[in-house]
């Protein structure tokens, strides 16, 4: 155990913790040692900003809007917030950002969300129901198709963990993982989704050909609970860890340094 672990074993107050805080902290730890992360605003930014202060001091957040090396004076409210631009190290055009940085293979970890995910980490952000006459029209891909195809790995953060979101069959596959791409002879760069972080625990997948497997649960959550809330026959690791609760130090950094105005820590 390193000296930092003294800090992480201090008493924490999980009952006072919001779901956003818990998810941000857990996601931040998964970024240990990573160099570049492609993140949207909200939980991914919180996770990346916290990781920058803890496990990944050299982490650079690249924003879909074209900002590299931001040094914002305030917590940004969107990926294009003016405070991200002033004082940034570089602002790129979208062809450069998507073409050279993302498709060029410079992103270690991409963060994505989705309305639905399946066991291979394929994502739906287009529609609930039929594409032609949907029950709900969702926003669509944005850059998600590109983030999945070109990041070395992808982390998915899903607040909701229920059988409708974790589904055997997507209503529509907007953003395919590499398994689906390879089936039709197209070769993506990355390994697709490697971590899914939810209110119940962590699913993980090491690479092409593997399905998502439950590897950890939050304190107080059982494996059966996760199984019941997953819409497919969930694979479970031989040893399911219990997620270490956010430490007092992690929470302090998150609350005092990363999001003092609690813009996202609601």
């Amino acid at each position: 155990m390193s000296t930092e672990s003294t800090v992480t074993t201090e008493t924490t107050h999980p009952t006072e913790m919001t779901s956003s805080e818990r998810l941000s902290v857990v996601a931040s730890r998964e970024l240990a040692g990573r160099r570049t992360v492609f993140a949207g605003i909200g939980l991914p930014t919180l996770a990346a900003s916290l990781a920058h202060l803890t496990v990944a001091p050299r982490l650079e957040i690249v924003y879909e809007s074209g900002v590299c090396g931001a040094h914002p004076s305030h917590l940004p409210e969107t990926i294009a917030d003016a405070v991200l631009i002033t004082g940034a190290e570089a602002v790129l055009s979208m062809p450069a950002l998507f073409g050279y940085v993302l498709q060029g293979g410079h992103i270690d970890v991409g963060f994505l969300g989705a309305a639905q995910i399946d066991k291979w980490g394929n994502l739906n952000t287009s529609v609930i129901g039929d594409w032609d006459a949907p029950k709900v029209r969702l926003p669509g891909s944005g850059g998600a198709v590109e983030v999945m195809a070109n990041s070395r790995e992808v982390f998915v953060v899903m607040r909701r963990h229920d059988p409708r979101s974790f589904t055997e069959k997507l209503d529509f596959c907007t953003t395919p993982g590499p398994d689906r791409a390879l089936e039709e002879g197209v070769r993506p760069l990355g390994t697709g989704v490697t971590r899914v972080i939810t209110e119940l625990g962590i699913l993980a997948r090491e690479g092409v050909g593997e399905e998502l497997k439950l590897v950890a649960v939050h304190p107080g959550v059982t494996v059966d609970q996760v199984r019941e809330n997953t819409g497919w026959d969930l694979a479970v690791a031989d040893t399911v860890e219990t997620v270490q609760p956010p430490s007092a130090e992690e929470l302090r950094l998150l609350r005092e340094d990363v999001d003092p105005d609690r813009v996202y820590l609601r």
């Binding site: 990926i79 003016a82 002033t86 073409g99 709900v136 969702l138 998600a144 395919p176 197209v186």
Partner: protein, 309 residues
Amino acid sequence: MDKTMTMREAISSFVHDGDTVALEGFTHLIPTAAGHEIIRQGRRDLTVVRMTADIVVDQMLAAGCVSRLVSSFVGNSSAGSLGELRRRVEKADPEPLVFEEYSHYGMICRYLAGAQRLPFYPLRSYGGSDLPAVNEGLRKVTSPYPGPDDEPEQVYVVPPVNPDVTIIHAQRADRSGNTQIWGLTGVQAEAVYAADKAVVVVEEIVEDEVVRSDPNRTVIPAHAVDAVVACPRGAHPSFAQGYYDRDNAFYRAWSGISKDPDRLQAWLKEWVYDTADHAEYVSKLGEEFWDSLAVGEALSLPVNYGRRL
């Protein structure tokens, strides 16, 4: 050559019923005022091309201007839903909307192909996606070079988009159309070069010397521009880096406004149809409001272009 004109002249000259109109600006510098003038002039049957179809697109849909939408993100930023768009797509209410769905880079590559007069543009997206099943624009090409392991390699391609007109908003231009943008520059240059005609709406028209003091800042040269429109605060509710900040409250309010068709139509009446032009819209919002979006100063340090001695 002086290409300045009023917004009214520019829209009436360059946007016609049935046209394909690209409106670009990624969160930053959204050409809202131009969209409003299109609504005022009652254009119909437009194909709108816009990566992030957001509030201005919802408004143009609600005003009945648009029959076809080409986009890669149809949402109200991270602030909620577009009520009119969802009614059109989910229930064909009050009429259907043809929707061509892409991803962001797919749209970017369509502009790149259009700007470069290429028959297609390759990209490493879409393998395994359901999008090609609902969008016949997404096709595959086999590379004529061996792939890794010497096997043949396939990639998806997208077709060019060549709008009849592209409209963008920028911080400043000279009278002939040399356009300077800083902060997020998005895909504006490509969208302009892809188009048959281009309208540049600016916060301010500046003297030639301003532009020429920093030619690298010119994102779009005059030869690609057909009209220059001075329209301060024309990007509201989005922002113009260094001029005014984003109106986040309005983004949040839009979900509620657009959810109720009557409220939405009342909004259009009050803020678009009943305002003669964007200057009236700006003054109707009031000075106090604009003060709340004001920004301070953070000047770039100069660089030396040099002069022969």
